[in-house]
């Protein structure tokens, strides 16, 4: 860290603060983006997570009521019952969960692209995915009800012969690709049903990749810009 006012700031304390949830959304996003590419930083985080989990050693286990399991099962597996209790499910699951990343496929909606993408009106979530020096700035708005992620590239773009790839980093998970950013400055990405709730509170990041996107499924180039998804 170059911050001269904070000589006590190093990656060990930063990882500890991240584990405790003491960083601001922006700081946490930047830390997660660094963690993606730095195994040593991931190890520091894992160390703190193990140590702090020890603080729960003395917490007495308590059997939850049977209803909890029934609702988990109904929510995940029982489509017919789920439909009947849609409203209840909405209140249970719709509260903007922060979750570890899972496989996420971006699907471009051809009909919307033809008409030109239109950002959702009054979107519940927004993110500014920006490089520190402003060389790349992408505004994103996300509607969790429809799984619509609208992106607007305001500054910067892919280097010649390269592509920009958008990643979702949620909780303790590895980054998951949301797809290669299209040539057009504005585009709409559709987030699959089962993943819609996972965007809220996550971090979006953009990396420099070969044309067609990362060949490995994980970011291979530099992380150019990051930004937390926040309630609008």
């Amino acid at each position: 860290m170059s911050d001269q006012d904070q000589p006590d700031r190093d990656d060990r304390t930063l990882a500890g603060e991240y584990t405790l949830g003491l960083l601001s959304a922006e700081e946490a996003a930047a830390f997660e983006a660094r963690m993606v590419q730095d195994p040593a930083l991931r190890a520091l985080y894992a160390q703190w997570a193990e140590d702090f989990a020890g603080l729960t050693d003395d917490i007495t286990p308590q059997a939850p009521p049977a209803l909890v399991w029934q609702q988990i099962e109904a929510g995940l597996f029982d489509d017919t019952r789920a439909r009947g209790s849609w409203l209840r499910r909405f209140t249970l699951w719709g509260g903007g969960l922060v979750a570890a990343a899972v496989l996420l496929l971006a699907v471009f909606l051809p009909d919307l692209v033809e008409r030109g993408p239109v950002p959702p009106v009054d979107p519940p979530y927004v993110a500014q995915i920006a490089a520190e020096d402003g060389s790349l700035v992408v505004q994103a708005v996300y509607d969790d009800a429809t799984g619509t992620l609208f992106v607007d590239r305001e500054a910067g773009g892919a280097a010649p012969g390269r592509a920009l790839e958008l990643w979702l980093i949620a909780g303790e998970g590895a980054p998951v690709s949301l797809g290669v950013m299209p040539q057009d400055a504005q585009a709409i990405l559709a987030v699959p049903d089962d993943l819609r709730r996972r965007v809220a509170g996550a971090v979006l990041a953009i990396s420099d990749e070969p044309q067609g996107g990362s060949p490995t499924g994980a970011p291979t180039g530099a992380v150019l810009a990051v930004g937390p998804v926040q309630e609008s």
């Binding site: 190093d10 729960t56 399991w69 995940l76």
Partner: protein
């Protein structure tokens, strides 16, 4: 007795969408995670809802549990703690300044100190004991109560930057002690 290997094995099978393994994992771990959620939230109804969220996350993310190299129980406890803290902070955002004042004034330090003293993790206990009592308390409150720098500064009645410095130095001391 469910061993670490058993839990790891269950998580691996959950990653392959094995519902029986998911139920077995729930049976083996839900009491612990419910205990954690209750400890953080101190409210049964909220803890029950959070427990549902926790296992939905476990079901969806079991295939990524190895990514950060956490042990299986730490992975589960971290999901539980973070989910409960997220919920708690959401609830606290609705607090009025007067309610905040009352909350900060209400809960004493007693149970915390007892809890850590009884811990089986001797190394962790010893390292917390090396910190000044207030500093150890701040770190524990950040983890178990989800308190932010602003909460902690108000509780210990110090400026925000002083709180940051305390906490960072405490983390550094802890890390150095735990690495010995």
């Amino acid at each position: 007795m469910t061993t670490r290997a058993d839990i790891e094995n269950m998580i691996m099978r959950v990653a392959q969408r094995d519902r029986a393994a998911f139920k077995a994992l729930y049976d083996a771990t839900s009491a612990k995670l419910f205990g954690v959620a209750l400890r953080v939230l101190n409210d049964r109804a909220e803890a029950e809802e959070v427990l549902q969220e926790i296992y939905v996350k476990v079901w969806h993310n079991a295939d990524r549990y190895t990514v950060n190299g956490l042990s299986p129980m730490t992975w589960l406890i971290t999901i539980a703690r973070n989910s409960a803290v997220d919920r708690l902070r959401k609830l606290r955002r609705a607090e009025t300044p007067a309610e905040l004042e009352e909350r900060i004034a209400d809960d004493g330090a007693g149970p915390e100190a007892l809890a850590i003293a009884a811990s089986e993790r001797g190394r962790l206990v010893a390292c917390f004991e090396e910190l000044a009592a207030k500093h150890a308390e701040a770190v524990r409150r950040a983890y178990l109560e989800g308190e932010t720098y602003a909460d902690l500064a108000a509780r210990f009645d110090v400026p925000l930057n002083t709180m940051r410095t305390w906490l960072r130095r405490s983390l550094l001391s802890l890390r150095e002690c735990l690495s010995r």
